[in-house]
Symmetry: D2
C-alpha cells in the first residue's frame, strides 16, 4: 500500500469571518470544506493552516510534514511573512507540491515561484464559465469530460502574466466574452505547481463535484517524486585534466 | 535608421580591485571591457554601473533609460539592495532585456526572475570548455559555427537548477567530464532574459572574439519589443450577461 | 536595405470556381487577395501557386525561390502529391517559413510537420469570434490591440490535436461557447511555422484589416534566418580517444 | 492490483543474423534480451516482433494489444511498410507509448511523429560516454544517480534535429569532445514518446544494469493514460447564436 499523501490546506480565513454571505457558503472556511472532501479519499490525509496562527500556521514542522500544500488567499497576501514564503518556496524547490487556487494568483508564494506579476483582468458579475479540457490524457483531467460548466463565477481574463506553462490543462470561456488559461502546470526545482482558476468566495465553487475531482487529481499529480535539498557543490574532475598554468596578463585566448 | 539600443553593463567590481591577477586581465573592470567592445558597434550605446554607486548604480533614471541590462556579479550578491532588485525585475517584466553572465547565476535578480535556486556544480581547474551551438538558426548564435572552444575555463556542471528554458542555444562539454546548458533563453512578462555561462574573472574569456559576438547578438535579441506596465484591471463585459441573483445559501451549483 | 521577402501564396483554388457565394467574396481567389495586400508592403514580393498547376504549382524552382509559403486548402488536401509535400517539408526544415491558414489544419504538409492528426471540433453558423492577444510583445501581435473581433466566423473548438506550441499568440472566444488556440508558433528543423485560424471561404475574413496585419507580421517573423540542408555526418574526434579493443563476447559492461 | 503493461519490442533483427560479433553480444537478438529483462518485472508482459514477419510483425491485432512499443532499427528503416508506420503512428496518437532506441532516430516512425529529419553527427570509436541525469525527479530517472557511465559507446553528437523536447532527462558527454540530448520526452496526440540514445549493436549496452533500469522506468512512464480515437466532429452550439444572414458580396467586415 502506497504511503498517504499529507496535504495542508492554507487559507487566509478572513472573508468567512467578516462576510455573512461567504459564511453562508463556507461556514467553517474554505479550507475546512476542502479538507473535508479530500479526507474522504483513502490515500489522502488533510490538515489545515491559517494566517492568524503562529508563523501563519506554516511552521517548519508543518511544512516538513506536508507533501502537497493548497493555497487560498485574496485580501491579505501582504500579511504573510516573507520568512514563511521563503520557507515554502524552498520546500517546493526540494520537491513538495503546491496547488494555487483562484485569487492566490497574486499571493507572494505564487509570484515568488513564477518570477512574474501574475496579473490578469477580472470582473465580478456572476457570469457563466466553461472550462474546456484540452489535455484529456493528463492525470489532472482524469474523469473530467469535455468541459466543466460553472453557472456563476467571477471572470478572470487574459493576458495572464505567467511564464509559459509546461502544460495548459483547461482554457475557460466566459459569458462576458473573455478567455483564460485556467489550469496550468509548472515544475520548479523538484516540485510541481498547479494553478487552478475557479473559486471565488461568494460562489459555491468548491461544492462542485467536478471542481473537487480536479483538486483531488491535482493532489495526486503534485505529490513529491523526490525531496532534494539545494546544494552548489565543488566537484572533483571525472577525467584527467592537464595542470593549468595561467598565461601572461591581458592576453586574449 | 533604427533607434540605438541603450545597454547598461552592471558589475559588482570587486575582484578587479582586490586581486592583481584579475586586474591584469581586466584593468578597468569587466564592465569597461564589455562596454568597450559593445560601443564599437553602431546601433549600440553602452554605459556602466557598479555596486558601490548610489542605489548600486541603478537609480530609477538609469533603469528607465536602459534597453538591455548586462549583469556580472560573484562574491557580493547579497550587497545588492532588495529595492534595486525589485526595480530591475519590474522593468524586465515591462519589457527590458536582461543578460546574466557566468557567476551571476546566483545573483538576486536572476533568482527572483527564475523562481528557483539556480545552483549547479562547479570546479576551478583551468580546463577546456567547448560550447556546442545547438540552434544555428537562432539570432544569438548568428555567426558562431558548430562550437566555441575555450582553452581554460571554470567548470559549471549539471544539474543546473533553472526552469526549463524556452530555448537552449549552447550546451557545454568540459574536459573534466561534465556538461552544462550554457546559453539559455526565457521570456518573463514582456522581457527577454539570456543566461550565458562563460566568464570567470581569472580567465580572459571576455577578450574572446566569439564570446563577444554572442554578447552582441544577445543584446540585439533582448532589446525591448514593447514596454507595458503591470496592471490588473476590472473589465466591463464585452457581451451581455444576465443579471446575477445569488441562490440560497450553502447549496451546491 | 534588407533583401525582399519572397512569399508564395498557395491555394487549392476550388471553392472560388465552384461556388458563386465564395467568388463574390474572393473573385480572383483567396490567394490573389492575399498576394494583393502583401504586395503593397515594401520589402515583400508575393507570387501565387495553385493545385491545378504542374507539380501543384510548387516546382523545385518555385520552392527554392520562396522565403515564406502561405498555405490555404480545404476540400482537396488529398490531391496534393506526396512528392510535393516532402519537397515543401524539406524546405521548411532547411529554414523556409510556413504560414498555415484555417482549414489547412488538415493539409498534408501541416500534418507531416506536426506529426499529429491536427483535428478539432467545428461548426459553421456565422457566429462571432474574438481572438485574444495573449502575447502583446510578440512580433506577430505587433499593432494588434487586446483582441480582434470577427462578427461572423466558422467555429473551431478545442481540443486541437497539435504538439504543444512553442508560443500561443491568440486564443479565440466563440459566441456558441467554445475556445481555440488560434495563433500558434513552432520551429521545426531551422524553419518557423505559424498556424492562424481565421479564414473560412464564405466569410470576408481576409478583407479584415487586422487579419491582414497579422499575416504581414507573420511573414516577417517566419522569414528564413538560415538555410541549412539536412546532413548526418561522420565526425572525427576533437579529443584524443584511446584505441578501442572489444572485450570477450556476451559480457556485461 | 493494476493491470499488466503489455510491451512489444520491435527489432529489424538483421545485424544479429549477419554479423558474428553482434551475435556474440545478442545471441537471440536485441529484442529477446530486452524482452528478457522486462519480463522479470511483475506488472510487465513482453512480446517481440521483427521486420521479417508478416506486416513486419505489427498486425492490427498486435498493435491493438500493445500498451508500449519499443523500437530498434538501424540498416533497414526503409523496409518497414508505410502502412505499418501509419498504423503505429495512429496508435501512438490514440495513447500508446513509444520508446525509440539509439539508431532508430532515423526510423520512419520516429521521423513521422517528430516531423523533422532527426539527423545528428556520429562516430564509431568505442569511446566513453557519460549520461548526466538532469531531471532526478522524473520517473524515467528514478533510481539513477548523478550519471550513467558507459565505457565504450558509439558517439552521437549535436545538433540533433528534433523538435524541442517537452523534457530532456539525460545529456551525454563523450570522450571525443561532443555532447548530446540522450533522453528526450514528447507527447503527441494522447501518447508519450521517449527517445533513448544508448545502444549500438556492437557494444553490450543493453546488458548494462542502469540502462535496463531506464528502459523499465520509461515503459512505466509511457503506458497509456487514455486511448482516444481521432475525430473531427461537427459540434452543436452550447450557447444561443443569432441566426446568420450573409451580407452583400465582397464587403469587408
Amino acid at each position: 500500500m502506497p504511503a498517504k499523501i499529507h496535504v495542508t490546506i492554507w487559507n487566509e480565513f478572513i472573508h468567512e469571518r467578516q462576510d455573512e454571505k461567504v459564511r453562508a457558503i463556507y461556514p467553517h472556511g474554505i479550507h475546512q470544506l476542502i479538507a473535508g472532501f479530500l479526507s474522504k479519499h483513502q490515500g489522502i490525509e488533510a490538515r489545515t493552516a491559517t494566517l492568524d496562527q503562529p508563523e501563519n500556521g506554516l511552521t517548519e514542522s508543518v511544512v516538513n510534514q506536508t507533501d502537497v500544500l493548497i493555497w487560498w488567499g485574496h485580501q491579505a497576501h501582504d500579511q504573510v511573512s516573507d520568512g514563511v514564503v521563503r520557507r515554502v518556496q524552498n520546500k517546493v524547490l526540494e520537491g513538495m507540491g503546491l496547488i494555487v487556487l483562484h485569487s492566490a494568483h497574486h499571493s507572494k508564494i505564487f509570484r515568488a515561484l513564477m518570477g512574474t506579476n501574475c496579473s490578469l483582468r477580472w470582473r465580478e458579475a456572476g457570469e457563466k464559465e466553461r472550462l474546456w479540457n484540452i489535455e484529456p490524457g493528463h492525470p489532472i483531467a482524469e474523469g473530467i469530460g469535455d468541459y466543466i460548466e460553472l453557472p456563476h463565477a467571477e471572470m478572470y481574463g487574459e493576458r495572464f502574466d505567467i511564464p509559459d506553462p509546461d502544460k495548459v490543462i483547461f482554457i475557460s470561456w466566459f459569458e462576458g466574452g473573455e478567455v483564460f488559461r485556467s489550469g496550468c502546470c509548472w515544475e520548479r526545482g523538484h516540485g510541481r505547481i498547479f494553478y487552478f482558476r475557479p473559486g471565488h468566495e461568494t460562489y459555491p465553487i468548491y461544492h462542485h463535484e467536478q471542481i473537487q475531482k480536479v483538486i483531488i487529481n491535482a493532489v495526486r499529480w503534485a505529490k513529491p517524486r523526490v525531496m532534494i535539498a539545494d546544494k552548489c557543490p565543488m566537484a572533483e574532475p571525472l577525467e584527467k585534466i592537464p595542470k593549468y598554468k595561467p598565461q601572461n596578463k591581458n592576453k586574449s585566448q
